[in-house]
Symmetry: C2
Subunit: 240 residues, 2 copies
Amino acid sequence: MLYLIGIGLWDEKDISIKGLEAAKKCDKIFIEKYTSLWKGDLKSLGINAETVGREDLENNINKILDIAKEKDVALLVPGDSLIATTHNSILLDAKKLGVKTKIIHSSSIFSAIGETGLQIYKFGKVSTIAYYYSEAPYNLLEDNLKQDAHTLFLLDITKEKLMTCGEGLKILLDLENKFKKKLISDETEVVVFCKAGSSEQILRYDKIKNLLNLNCFLCVIIIPGKLHFLEKEYLDSLRA
Amino acid sequence: MLYLIGIGLWDEKDISIKGLEAAKKCDKIFIEKYTSLWKGDLKSLGINAETVGREDLENNINKILDIAKEKDVALLVPGDSLIATTHNSILLDAKKLGVKTKIIHSSSIFSAIGETGLQIYKFGKVSTIAYYYSEAPYNLLEDNLKQDAHTLFLLDITKEKLMTCGEGLKILLDLENKFKKKLISDETEVVVFCKAGSSEQILRYDKIKNLLNLNCFLCVIIIPGKLHFLEKEYLDSLRA
Protein backbone atom coordinates (compact mmCIF):
# COMPACT_ATOMS: atom_id res chain seq x y z
CA MET A 1 0.00 0.00 0.00
CA LEU A 2 1.16 3.53 -0.80
CA TYR A 3 -0.12 6.23 1.54
CA LEU A 4 -0.05 9.76 0.16
CA ILE A 5 -0.20 11.88 3.28
CA GLY A 6 -0.58 15.65 3.36
CA ILE A 7 1.51 17.20 6.12
CA GLY A 8 -0.11 20.61 6.03
CA LEU A 9 0.84 24.22 5.78
CA TRP A 10 3.80 24.81 7.98
CA ASP A 11 5.38 22.49 10.54
CA GLU A 12 5.23 18.94 11.87
CA LYS A 13 2.20 19.67 14.01
CA ASP A 14 0.05 20.41 10.96
CA ILE A 15 -0.25 16.73 10.07
CA SER A 16 -3.59 15.18 11.07
CA ILE A 17 -3.84 12.48 13.70
CA LYS A 18 -4.99 10.15 10.92
CA GLY A 19 -1.94 11.01 8.83
CA LEU A 20 0.45 10.56 11.72
CA GLU A 21 -1.03 7.20 12.72
CA ALA A 22 -0.86 5.94 9.13
CA ALA A 23 2.74 7.10 8.68
CA LYS A 24 3.84 5.45 11.91
CA LYS A 25 2.46 2.11 10.76
CA CYS A 26 4.41 2.25 7.51
CA ASP A 27 7.58 0.25 6.91
CA LYS A 28 9.19 3.06 4.95
CA ILE A 29 8.52 6.79 4.86
CA PHE A 30 9.52 9.25 2.15
CA ILE A 31 9.03 13.01 2.12
CA GLU A 32 9.19 15.38 -0.83
CA LYS A 33 9.91 19.05 -0.29
CA TYR A 34 10.33 20.35 -3.81
CA THR A 35 6.73 21.18 -4.74
CA SER A 36 6.67 23.48 -1.71
CA LEU A 37 9.12 24.43 1.00
CA TRP A 38 8.34 22.79 4.32
CA LYS A 39 10.11 23.47 7.57
CA GLY A 40 8.85 20.94 10.08
CA ASP A 41 10.85 18.58 12.25
CA LEU A 42 9.40 15.11 11.73
CA LYS A 43 11.83 13.49 14.13
CA SER A 44 10.10 15.19 17.04
CA LEU A 45 7.03 13.12 16.05
CA GLY A 46 9.10 9.94 16.04
CA ILE A 47 9.16 9.76 12.25
CA ASN A 48 12.23 9.07 10.18
CA ALA A 49 11.62 10.03 6.59
CA GLU A 50 13.93 9.88 3.61
CA THR A 51 13.81 12.99 1.45
CA VAL A 52 13.10 12.40 -2.22
CA GLY A 53 13.45 14.89 -5.05
CA ARG A 54 11.77 15.65 -8.34
CA GLU A 55 13.87 13.07 -10.17
CA ASP A 56 12.84 10.32 -7.73
CA LEU A 57 9.15 11.05 -8.13
CA GLU A 58 8.92 11.97 -11.78
CA ASN A 59 11.33 9.55 -13.39
CA ASN A 60 12.07 6.84 -10.86
CA ILE A 61 8.79 6.40 -9.08
CA ASN A 62 8.81 2.68 -9.83
CA LYS A 63 11.54 2.22 -7.23
CA ILE A 64 9.15 3.47 -4.56
CA LEU A 65 6.16 1.64 -6.03
CA ASP A 66 8.10 -1.62 -6.07
CA ILE A 67 8.55 -1.35 -2.32
CA ALA A 68 4.85 -0.51 -1.93
CA LYS A 69 3.91 -3.76 -3.67
CA GLU A 70 5.15 -5.70 -0.67
CA LYS A 71 5.19 -3.23 2.19
CA ASP A 72 3.40 -0.18 3.54
CA VAL A 73 5.03 2.97 2.23
CA ALA A 74 4.16 6.58 3.06
CA LEU A 75 4.93 9.55 0.87
CA LEU A 76 4.59 12.75 2.87
CA VAL A 77 3.63 15.82 0.87
CA PRO A 78 3.66 19.45 2.09
CA GLY A 79 0.17 20.97 2.20
CA ASP A 80 -2.65 18.77 0.97
CA SER A 81 -1.64 15.55 -0.72
CA LEU A 82 -2.82 16.02 -4.30
CA ILE A 83 -2.20 19.62 -5.24
CA ALA A 84 0.70 19.05 -7.64
CA THR A 85 0.16 17.04 -10.83
CA THR A 86 3.16 14.92 -9.86
CA HIS A 87 1.15 13.22 -7.17
CA ASN A 88 -1.75 12.40 -9.47
CA SER A 89 0.70 10.83 -11.89
CA ILE A 90 2.00 8.67 -9.07
CA LEU A 91 -1.53 7.43 -8.39
CA LEU A 92 -1.94 6.51 -12.04
CA ASP A 93 1.38 4.69 -12.09
CA ALA A 94 0.41 2.84 -8.92
CA LYS A 95 -2.87 1.76 -10.46
CA LYS A 96 -1.04 0.40 -13.51
CA LEU A 97 1.25 -1.64 -11.27
CA GLY A 98 -1.59 -2.89 -9.09
CA VAL A 99 -0.32 -1.03 -6.02
CA LYS A 100 -3.13 0.06 -3.70
CA THR A 101 -3.17 3.67 -2.55
CA LYS A 102 -4.73 5.67 0.23
CA ILE A 103 -4.91 9.44 0.43
CA ILE A 104 -4.93 11.44 3.64
CA HIS A 105 -5.63 15.14 3.37
CA SER A 106 -4.33 18.12 5.30
CA SER A 107 -4.40 21.89 5.37
CA SER A 108 -3.50 23.77 2.22
CA ILE A 109 -3.10 27.34 1.04
CA PHE A 110 -6.07 26.68 -1.26
CA SER A 111 -8.41 26.76 1.73
CA ALA A 112 -6.25 28.79 4.13
CA ILE A 113 -6.82 31.82 1.88
CA GLY A 114 -10.14 32.08 3.72
CA GLU A 115 -8.04 33.87 6.33
CA THR A 116 -7.81 36.92 4.06
CA GLY A 117 -11.52 37.56 4.56
CA LEU A 118 -12.11 36.97 0.87
CA GLN A 119 -14.82 34.43 0.16
CA ILE A 120 -13.32 31.23 -1.09
CA TYR A 121 -16.29 30.70 -3.42
CA LYS A 122 -15.33 33.79 -5.37
CA PHE A 123 -11.81 32.80 -6.35
CA GLY A 124 -11.30 32.08 -10.04
CA LYS A 125 -8.56 29.99 -11.62
CA VAL A 126 -5.13 30.08 -10.03
CA SER A 127 -1.84 30.94 -11.67
CA THR A 128 1.85 30.85 -10.80
CA ILE A 129 4.04 33.88 -11.35
CA ALA A 130 7.22 32.54 -12.93
CA TYR A 131 10.69 34.04 -13.10
CA TYR A 132 10.68 33.58 -16.87
CA TYR A 133 7.91 36.16 -17.26
CA SER A 134 5.21 33.88 -18.59
CA GLU A 135 2.27 36.06 -19.59
CA ALA A 136 -0.16 33.40 -18.35
CA PRO A 137 -0.81 35.05 -14.95
CA TYR A 138 -1.61 38.35 -16.65
CA ASN A 139 -4.05 36.73 -19.07
CA LEU A 140 -5.65 34.79 -16.27
CA LEU A 141 -6.07 37.97 -14.24
CA GLU A 142 -7.91 39.55 -17.16
CA ASP A 143 -10.30 36.58 -17.41
CA ASN A 144 -10.90 36.49 -13.68
CA LEU A 145 -11.54 40.23 -13.37
CA LYS A 146 -14.13 39.99 -16.17
CA GLN A 147 -15.87 37.40 -14.02
CA ASP A 148 -15.47 39.57 -10.86
CA ALA A 149 -13.40 36.71 -9.43
CA HIS A 150 -10.48 36.98 -7.03
CA THR A 151 -7.14 35.75 -8.38
CA LEU A 152 -4.71 33.72 -6.31
CA PHE A 153 -1.12 33.82 -7.54
CA LEU A 154 1.41 31.30 -6.32
CA LEU A 155 5.05 32.34 -6.60
CA ASP A 156 7.82 30.48 -8.39
CA ILE A 157 10.07 28.05 -6.54
CA THR A 158 13.29 27.00 -8.19
CA LYS A 159 16.16 24.94 -6.88
CA GLU A 160 18.07 28.15 -6.30
CA LYS A 161 15.49 30.44 -4.79
CA LEU A 162 11.98 31.27 -3.66
CA MET A 163 10.29 34.25 -5.26
CA THR A 164 9.55 37.05 -2.82
CA CYS A 165 6.31 38.99 -2.67
CA GLY A 166 8.02 42.09 -3.99
CA GLU A 167 9.48 40.20 -6.95
CA GLY A 168 6.08 38.73 -7.81
CA LEU A 169 4.37 42.12 -7.72
CA LYS A 170 7.15 43.65 -9.82
CA ILE A 171 6.63 40.98 -12.48
CA LEU A 172 2.89 41.67 -12.55
CA LEU A 173 3.54 45.40 -13.03
CA ASP A 174 6.08 44.65 -15.77
CA LEU A 175 3.47 42.51 -17.55
CA GLU A 176 0.99 45.39 -17.24
CA ASN A 177 3.55 47.78 -18.74
CA LYS A 178 4.10 45.37 -21.61
CA PHE A 179 0.48 44.52 -22.47
CA LYS A 180 -1.19 47.71 -21.20
CA LYS A 181 -4.68 46.35 -20.64
CA LYS A 182 -5.06 48.54 -17.55
CA LEU A 183 -5.76 45.61 -15.27
CA ILE A 184 -3.54 46.89 -12.47
CA SER A 185 -1.29 49.79 -11.53
CA ASP A 186 0.97 50.46 -8.58
CA GLU A 187 -2.12 51.98 -6.92
CA THR A 188 -4.03 48.68 -7.08
CA GLU A 189 -4.83 47.27 -3.66
CA VAL A 190 -3.80 43.65 -3.26
CA VAL A 191 -3.50 41.06 -0.51
CA VAL A 192 -0.24 39.36 0.33
CA PHE A 193 -0.28 36.30 2.57
CA CYS A 194 3.11 34.99 3.63
CA LYS A 195 4.09 31.96 5.72
CA ALA A 196 0.44 31.04 6.13
CA GLY A 197 -0.28 28.88 9.15
CA SER A 198 2.90 29.84 10.98
CA SER A 199 3.37 32.08 13.98
CA GLU A 200 5.35 34.43 11.71
CA GLN A 201 2.65 34.81 9.11
CA ILE A 202 2.16 38.12 7.35
CA LEU A 203 -1.23 39.18 6.02
CA ARG A 204 -1.41 42.61 4.42
CA TYR A 205 -3.83 44.56 2.27
CA ASP A 206 -2.26 47.57 0.65
CA LYS A 207 -1.39 49.29 -2.62
CA ILE A 208 1.13 47.44 -4.74
CA LYS A 209 3.56 50.37 -4.49
CA ASN A 210 3.66 49.94 -0.72
CA LEU A 211 4.42 46.23 -0.96
CA LEU A 212 7.11 46.20 -3.64
CA ASN A 213 9.85 46.15 -1.04
CA LEU A 214 8.32 43.29 0.91
CA ASN A 215 11.13 40.82 0.94
CA CYS A 216 9.36 37.85 2.50
CA PHE A 217 8.92 34.52 0.78
CA LEU A 218 6.57 31.53 0.94
CA CYS A 219 3.90 34.00 -0.05
CA VAL A 220 0.88 34.17 -2.23
CA ILE A 221 -0.50 37.30 -3.82
CA ILE A 222 -4.22 37.86 -4.27
CA ILE A 223 -5.74 40.45 -6.57
CA PRO A 224 -9.31 40.82 -5.43
CA GLY A 225 -12.15 41.02 -7.91
CA LYS A 226 -15.41 42.70 -6.99
CA LEU A 227 -15.67 42.94 -3.21
CA HIS A 228 -18.70 42.20 -1.09
CA PHE A 229 -19.01 44.84 1.65
CA LEU A 230 -18.09 42.27 4.32
CA GLU A 231 -14.98 41.31 2.39
CA LYS A 232 -14.09 44.98 2.13
CA GLU A 233 -14.65 45.51 5.85
CA TYR A 234 -12.45 42.54 6.65
CA LEU A 235 -9.67 43.64 4.31
CA ASP A 236 -9.76 47.14 5.76
CA SER A 237 -9.35 45.64 9.22
CA LEU A 238 -6.03 44.19 8.06
CA ARG A 239 -4.63 47.69 7.58
CA ALA A 240 -4.72 48.41 11.27
CA MET B 1 -8.13 34.16 23.23
CA LEU B 2 -10.52 32.61 20.70
CA TYR B 3 -9.09 29.69 18.73
CA LEU B 4 -10.87 28.90 15.47
CA ILE B 5 -9.82 25.34 14.79
CA GLY B 6 -10.56 23.40 11.61
CA ILE B 7 -11.38 19.76 12.37
CA GLY B 8 -11.08 18.52 8.83
CA LEU B 9 -13.03 16.53 6.33
CA TRP B 10 -14.54 13.60 8.08
CA ASP B 11 -13.90 12.32 11.60
CA GLU B 12 -12.10 13.18 14.83
CA LYS B 13 -8.77 11.98 13.48
CA ASP B 14 -8.73 14.65 10.77
CA ILE B 15 -7.83 17.38 13.26
CA SER B 16 -4.17 18.39 13.18
CA ILE B 17 -1.87 17.79 16.12
CA LYS B 18 -1.63 21.57 16.44
CA GLY B 19 -5.39 21.88 16.53
CA LEU B 20 -5.80 19.13 19.09
CA GLU B 21 -3.11 20.54 21.38
CA ALA B 22 -4.66 24.00 21.21
CA ALA B 23 -8.17 22.70 21.91
CA LYS B 24 -6.98 20.68 24.91
CA LYS B 25 -5.44 23.76 26.49
CA CYS B 26 -8.69 25.70 26.20
CA ASP B 27 -11.00 26.31 29.15
CA LYS B 28 -14.11 25.92 27.02
CA ILE B 29 -14.70 24.22 23.70
CA PHE B 30 -17.56 24.78 21.28
CA ILE B 31 -18.27 22.96 18.03
CA GLU B 32 -20.56 24.01 15.21
CA LYS B 33 -21.96 21.44 12.83
CA TYR B 34 -24.42 23.44 10.78
CA THR B 35 -22.18 24.80 8.00
CA SER B 36 -21.30 21.18 7.20
CA LEU B 37 -22.25 17.80 8.60
CA TRP B 38 -19.49 16.27 10.68
CA LYS B 39 -19.55 12.79 12.13
CA GLY B 40 -16.53 12.49 14.38
CA ASP B 41 -16.41 11.42 18.01
CA LEU B 42 -14.45 14.09 19.88
CA LYS B 43 -14.79 12.31 23.21
CA SER B 44 -12.42 9.62 22.01
CA LEU B 45 -9.80 12.39 21.80
CA GLY B 46 -10.57 13.47 25.34
CA ILE B 47 -12.44 16.57 24.21
CA ASN B 48 -15.78 17.68 25.57
CA ALA B 49 -17.31 20.20 23.24
CA GLU B 50 -20.64 21.99 23.46
CA THR B 51 -22.52 22.11 20.17
CA VAL B 52 -23.57 25.56 19.02
CA GLY B 53 -26.00 26.39 16.24
CA ARG B 54 -26.46 29.11 13.66
CA GLU B 55 -28.32 31.32 16.11
CA ASP B 56 -25.47 31.13 18.65
CA LEU B 57 -22.86 32.13 16.11
CA GLU B 58 -24.74 34.62 13.98
CA ASN B 59 -26.83 36.47 16.56
CA ASN B 60 -25.39 35.68 19.95
CA ILE B 61 -21.67 35.45 19.29
CA ASN B 62 -20.99 38.02 22.02
CA LYS B 63 -21.80 35.39 24.62
CA ILE B 64 -18.89 33.31 23.38
CA LEU B 65 -16.64 36.31 22.86
CA ASP B 66 -17.30 37.50 26.40
CA ILE B 67 -15.89 34.24 27.71
CA ALA B 68 -12.93 34.56 25.34
CA LYS B 69 -12.06 37.95 26.87
CA GLU B 70 -11.02 36.22 30.07
CA LYS B 71 -10.36 32.61 29.11
CA ASP B 72 -9.12 30.45 26.26
CA VAL B 73 -12.02 29.34 24.11
CA ALA B 74 -11.95 27.04 21.09
CA LEU B 75 -14.54 26.99 18.34
CA LEU B 76 -14.21 23.80 16.32
CA VAL B 77 -15.30 24.06 12.69
CA PRO B 78 -15.79 21.15 10.25
CA GLY B 79 -13.31 21.30 7.35
CA ASP B 80 -10.97 24.26 7.28
CA SER B 81 -11.68 27.02 9.77
CA LEU B 82 -12.63 29.96 7.57
CA ILE B 83 -14.65 28.63 4.66
CA ALA B 84 -18.03 30.00 5.72
CA THR B 85 -18.58 33.76 5.96
CA THR B 86 -19.95 33.23 9.46
CA HIS B 87 -16.47 32.57 10.76
CA ASN B 88 -15.00 35.68 9.17
CA SER B 89 -17.75 37.72 10.80
CA ILE B 90 -16.79 36.24 14.14
CA LEU B 91 -13.20 37.38 13.63
CA LEU B 92 -14.40 40.91 12.88
CA ASP B 93 -16.61 40.94 15.95
CA ALA B 94 -13.71 39.65 18.05
CA LYS B 95 -11.47 42.43 16.77
CA LYS B 96 -14.07 45.04 17.69
CA LEU B 97 -14.26 43.67 21.23
CA GLY B 98 -10.49 43.41 21.59
CA VAL B 99 -10.55 39.61 21.78
CA LYS B 100 -7.43 38.01 20.35
CA THR B 101 -7.87 35.20 17.84
CA LYS B 102 -5.79 32.38 16.44
CA ILE B 103 -6.66 30.28 13.42
CA ILE B 104 -5.64 26.66 12.92
CA HIS B 105 -6.28 25.14 9.54
CA SER B 106 -7.27 21.64 8.47
CA SER B 107 -8.28 19.62 5.45
CA SER B 108 -11.13 20.87 3.31
CA ILE B 109 -13.07 19.81 0.25
CA PHE B 110 -11.58 22.88 -1.49
CA SER B 111 -8.22 21.13 -1.68
CA ALA B 112 -9.39 17.51 -1.40
CA ILE B 113 -10.91 17.88 -4.87
CA GLY B 114 -7.37 17.22 -6.08
CA GLU B 115 -8.32 13.59 -5.57
CA THR B 116 -10.52 13.73 -8.67
CA GLY B 117 -7.43 14.06 -10.84
CA LEU B 118 -8.60 17.50 -11.94
CA GLN B 119 -5.99 20.20 -11.52
CA ILE B 120 -6.90 22.44 -8.66
CA TYR B 121 -5.45 25.44 -10.51
CA LYS B 122 -8.09 25.09 -13.17
CA PHE B 123 -11.18 25.37 -10.98
CA GLY B 124 -13.21 28.54 -11.43
CA LYS B 125 -15.63 30.10 -8.97
CA VAL B 126 -17.68 27.79 -6.79
CA SER B 127 -21.44 27.67 -6.43
CA THR B 128 -24.01 25.97 -4.23
CA ILE B 129 -26.96 24.15 -5.75
CA ALA B 130 -29.96 25.18 -3.67
CA TYR B 131 -33.32 23.52 -3.20
CA TYR B 132 -35.05 26.77 -4.15
CA TYR B 133 -33.72 26.54 -7.71
CA SER B 134 -31.50 29.60 -7.69
CA GLU B 135 -30.23 30.09 -11.22
CA ALA B 136 -26.82 31.21 -9.87
CA PRO B 137 -25.10 27.82 -10.33
CA TYR B 138 -26.25 27.67 -13.94
CA ASN B 139 -24.99 31.17 -14.70
CA LEU B 140 -21.71 30.43 -12.97
CA LEU B 141 -21.30 27.26 -15.01
CA GLU B 142 -21.70 29.29 -18.18
CA ASP B 143 -19.00 31.75 -17.08
CA ASN B 144 -16.63 28.99 -16.00
CA LEU B 145 -17.06 26.97 -19.20
CA LYS B 146 -16.24 30.08 -21.26
CA GLN B 147 -13.00 30.24 -19.32
CA ASP B 148 -12.40 26.46 -19.74
CA ALA B 149 -12.55 26.22 -15.95
CA HIS B 150 -13.84 23.31 -13.88
CA THR B 151 -16.88 24.06 -11.73
CA LEU B 152 -17.26 22.78 -8.19
CA PHE B 153 -20.84 22.66 -6.93
CA LEU B 154 -21.56 22.29 -3.24
CA LEU B 155 -24.98 20.88 -2.36
CA ASP B 156 -27.59 22.48 -0.15
CA ILE B 157 -27.81 21.64 3.54
CA THR B 158 -30.97 22.56 5.40
CA LYS B 159 -32.07 21.77 8.91
CA GLU B 160 -34.29 19.04 7.50
CA LYS B 161 -32.08 17.37 4.93
CA LEU B 162 -28.89 17.09 2.93
CA MET B 163 -29.19 17.28 -0.84
CA THR B 164 -28.19 14.06 -2.60
CA CYS B 165 -26.02 13.86 -5.68
CA GLY B 166 -28.97 12.78 -7.77
CA GLU B 167 -31.09 15.71 -6.58
CA GLY B 168 -28.29 18.17 -7.38
CA LEU B 169 -27.84 16.80 -10.89
CA LYS B 170 -31.60 16.86 -11.47
CA ILE B 171 -31.72 20.54 -10.53
CA LEU B 172 -28.88 21.33 -12.95
CA LEU B 173 -30.75 19.53 -15.77
CA ASP B 174 -33.95 21.39 -14.87
CA LEU B 175 -32.08 24.70 -15.07
CA GLU B 176 -30.73 23.66 -18.48
CA ASN B 177 -34.26 22.84 -19.64
CA LYS B 178 -35.43 26.24 -18.44
CA PHE B 179 -32.65 28.43 -19.86
CA LYS B 180 -31.60 26.22 -22.79
CA LYS B 181 -28.05 27.51 -23.22
CA LYS B 182 -26.85 24.01 -24.09
CA LEU B 183 -24.30 23.94 -21.30
CA ILE B 184 -25.11 20.38 -20.26
CA SER B 185 -27.34 17.45 -21.12
CA ASP B 186 -27.92 14.08 -19.53
CA GLU B 187 -25.01 12.86 -21.69
CA THR B 188 -22.56 15.28 -20.04
CA GLU B 189 -19.81 13.54 -18.14
CA VAL B 190 -19.40 14.83 -14.60
CA VAL B 191 -17.53 13.92 -11.44
CA VAL B 192 -19.28 13.20 -8.17
CA PHE B 193 -17.25 13.03 -4.99
CA CYS B 194 -19.11 11.88 -1.89
CA LYS B 195 -18.01 11.53 1.73
CA ALA B 196 -14.53 12.76 0.81
CA GLY B 197 -11.84 11.71 3.23
CA SER B 198 -13.82 8.80 4.66
CA SER B 199 -13.37 5.10 4.14
CA GLU B 200 -16.81 5.08 2.45
CA GLN B 201 -15.98 7.77 -0.06
CA ILE B 202 -17.42 7.55 -3.57
CA LEU B 203 -15.61 9.05 -6.55
CA ARG B 204 -17.26 8.55 -9.92
CA TYR B 205 -16.91 9.94 -13.42
CA ASP B 206 -19.88 9.18 -15.61
CA LYS B 207 -22.70 10.64 -17.69
CA ILE B 208 -25.28 12.57 -15.71
CA LYS B 209 -28.00 10.12 -16.75
CA ASN B 210 -26.10 7.29 -15.05
CA LEU B 211 -25.75 9.23 -11.80
CA LEU B 212 -29.27 10.59 -11.38
CA ASN B 213 -30.21 7.74 -9.09
CA LEU B 214 -27.16 8.14 -6.88
CA ASN B 215 -28.74 8.62 -3.52
CA CYS B 216 -25.66 9.46 -1.48
CA PHE B 217 -25.14 12.72 0.35
CA LEU B 218 -22.28 14.83 1.65
CA CYS B 219 -21.31 15.12 -1.99
CA VAL B 220 -19.94 17.64 -4.36
CA ILE B 221 -20.51 17.67 -8.11
CA ILE B 222 -17.86 18.82 -10.53
CA ILE B 223 -18.51 19.72 -14.14
CA PRO B 224 -15.12 19.67 -15.81
CA GLY B 225 -14.09 22.37 -18.25
CA LYS B 226 -11.44 21.71 -20.86
CA LEU B 227 -9.43 18.64 -19.88
CA HIS B 228 -5.69 18.22 -20.05
CA PHE B 229 -4.87 14.75 -21.36
CA LEU B 230 -3.55 13.69 -17.95
CA GLU B 231 -6.76 14.83 -16.30
CA LYS B 232 -8.69 12.83 -18.89
CA GLU B 233 -6.56 9.76 -18.29
CA TYR B 234 -7.10 10.04 -14.56
CA LEU B 235 -10.85 10.52 -14.87
CA ASP B 236 -11.08 7.54 -17.21
CA SER B 237 -9.27 5.44 -14.61
CA LEU B 238 -12.14 6.17 -12.20
CA ARG B 239 -14.55 4.30 -14.46
CA ALA B 240 -12.87 0.98 -13.76
